[in-house]
């Protein structure tokens, strides 16, 4: 039982009359990497937004790390141990890599100075270099501001931020959607590093090869409902596509959509 890090029970979200998410029952085990797939508007991002507290759910329960949780916002979720890489990157363009990595949780000295306490630049730089090496992210100059970086580098910084800090669960919403081949590879390497470290992950992706490569299990959403829960070994690309398009529905979800 304590093997489950995240569980949702009949999670439901309505935007006015639109049923964006209906009765989502989802489980994630410790150390497991799960992909969420589905067509545009299938409810993938909505599902994530309910878990991370960006939006408030209409009904249902979320059990995280053995406790029922009600996050009022993404900060609370992060404090509880859920790190999220959003589709819109939450980076400050005018700051450099260490500043962004440690934004909101800076290493400081002389803490009795309150808001005027001094930043431990050296400590943050060293931790940044260590974190980037660990995740094999290639950034030529970490003192460069985000403004002067390519899309791929930005994405890597955003992901390295979640990977540098120990977390109980990482969620990535289409992390490679806008990236080139090499950059995608870098991001995938970060994900493998997380897997080796035993950190659970929810990955939203449209990239079938990537999903088959990286995760243990695939959950398919269609029109706001979960329609399949597939172990990677027991499925293939064509099978997953069949579920996504609606040609197939898993027997246990029969009548769902």
């Amino acid at each position: 039982m304590s093997d489950i890090i995240l569980e949702t029970k009949s999670l439901t979200k309505h935007y006015g009359g639109v049923h964006a998410l209906t009765d989502a029952n989802f489980e994630l085990h410790k150390g497991e990497h799960v992909a969420i797939m589905g067509d545009n508007g299938a409810g993938k991002s909505t599902f994530v937004r309910q878990i991370t507290g960006v939006e408030q759910r209409t009904s249902g329960t979320i059990i995280f790390d053995g406790k029922e949780v009600h996050f009022s916002g993404p900060i609370q979720a992060r404090e509880a141990g859920i790190e999220t890489v959003f589709q819109t990157l939450a980076l400050a363009d005018d700051l450099d890599v260490p500043d962004n990595l440690f934004l909101g949780r800076e290493k400081t000295k002389l803490d009795w100075l309150g808001p005027f306490r001094f930043l431990d630049y050296k400590g943050m730089r060293e931790a940044t270099l260590a974190g980037l090496e660990k995740t094999a992210v290639k950034i030529p100059n970490i003192r460069n501001t985000i403004r002067n970086m390519s899309g791929g580098q930005r994405q890597c910084v955003a992901i390295a931020r979640t990977a540098t800090f120990p977390s109980k669960l990482t969620i990535m919403d289409e992390p490679t959607a806008a990236l080139g081949v090499q950059e995608t590879e870098q991001v995938e390497n970060i994900i493998r590093t997380l897997k080796e470290a035993g950190e659970p992950l929810i990955l939203i992706s449209h990239n079938m090869r990537q999903v088959m490569d990286l995760v243990d299990r695939i959950v398919v959403f269609r029109r706001g409902r979960i329609v399949a829960n597939l172990k990677k070994e027991e499925t293939d690309g064509q099978d997953v596509v069949a579920y996504i398009t609606g040609a197939k529905t898993a027997p246990e979800y029969e009548g769902a959509a």
């Binding site: 500043d99 100075l113 001094f118 100059n141 002067n148």
Partner: protein
């Protein structure tokens, strides 16, 4: 800093390619402007044997025209103190228009707590309060002024952070409130005759020392403390700052409080220097302070700028003002030329930003 010479993942970067600091551009601009005035002085027909920068008549021990340099820096230091606060507000993505009238209001209030009882043996003709307010220790008016500034700043910051009205509107309202308060305080009459101790605050070159001292303090605060980092972060991407767990609202209140306290302190120095307070004090100061920051490379879109830049911007401002007088430019045209320079500074900043954006 050896550990930053190599990137991660085995990548290296060229140390020489490190970005050219913006402050250096402003410093070069400052030198160029001084040179232009010097050349104009040498070539304009009516400028017989005067030098802008140098001591051409053997009046001073050094080669420089010390009197002019002293006036330039003295002229900008009081508005410069305001500009230090405005810099922080603009970096955080806001704007503060209320600082000029705040100078007027603070000067009136503070001077009322700094009056002497007897002027040449006669009762003080400008007395505001009764017996109890005469000859108070100099710390009392200073504290009153700073608290007043803090209150105004807290109101500005709270309005902007919690009601989400644009900073322009909130501080424009406060602009009128403060100017009205300055006039209502004594029904428009000036407040004068401060204590001996109070006159020391802004005597002689004291405004310059305050300006430089405060500039050093706030340079350190902006560059090396949590407060500074969060100020840049909020101005750079407010949503990212909020998502990262920074208390954006509380931080904004703090930024506006510090800015208004600096403006209030400028009012204390100014009224001490002038030995009097008038409700019209500080007219245009808010705009000049913003101009100094903008000339100094503080981006009006937030996130970029520095105290060093603003100090250099203040110097450019002072040199231009003094230079216009030196080449005997009509006072009416001076204001117009100043406006043109401020616009050019913003345009230059815009061009710089766009160039930086296309480089990637």
């Amino acid at each position: 800093m050896a550990e930053t010479k190599h990137g991660t993942g085995g990548l290296k970067f060229d140390e020489k390619k490190r970005s050219w600091p913006n402050e250096l551009n402003i410093f070069i601009a400052l030198i160029v402007i001084i040179a232009i005035f010097e050349i104009l002085g040498q070539t304009l027909p009516y400028m017989n044997d005067q030098s802008f920068l140098f001591d051409s008549r053997g009046r001073f021990d050094s080669i420089f025209n010390e009197a002019r340099l002293r006036i330039i820096i003295l002229q900008v230091s009081i508005i410069g103190i305001i500009a230090l606060g405005v810099t922080q507000v603009i970096i955080s993505g806001g704007i503060d228009l209320s600082s000029g009238p705040l100078v007027g209001a603070t000067a009136m209030i503070v001077m009322s707590f700094a009056q002497t009882e007897l002027v040449n043996g006669n009762p003080n003709p400008k007395a505001v309060f009764g017996q109890w307010a005469f000859d108070l220790p100099v710390l009392i008016p200073i504290i009153v002024g700073l608290i007043f500034g803090a209150i105004i700043g807290a109101i500005n910051g709270t309005l902007i952070a919690f009601t989400k009205i644009p900073p322009f509107i909130a501080t424009l309202g406060m602009f009128l409130i403060c100017r009205g308060l300055a006039q209502a305080w004594t029904r428009g009459k000036p407040v004068s005759f401060p204590t001996e101790g109070y006159t020391q605050i802004g005597a002689g070159m004291m405004p310059v020392y305050w300006f430089i001292g405060l500039a050093v303090v706030f340079h350190i605060i902006l560059k090396y403390t949590l407060y500074g980092k969060h100020t840049y972060a909020i101005g750079s991407n407010e949503d990212a700052a909020r998502m990262s767990g920074i208390n954006v609202q509380r931080h904004k209140v703090l930024v506006y409080m510090i800015a208004s306290m600096l403006a209030a302190f400028a009012a204390i120095v100014l009224s001490s220097k002038n030995l009097t307070a008038q409700s019209g004090m500080g007219i245009f100061y808010e705009l000049y302070a913003i101009a100094m920051a903008v000339i100094g490379g503080v981006s009006l879109t937030g996130g970029r700028g520095s105290i060093i830049g603003t100090v250099l911007g203040a110097m450019v401002f002072g040199v231009i003002q003094s230079g216009f007088t030196y080449i005997k430019l009509d006072a009416y045209f001076q204001l117009m030329a100043m406006g043109a320079i401020i616009i050019s500074a913003v345009v230059l900043d815009k061009v710089r930003q766009e160039r930086a954006a296309t480089r990637t």
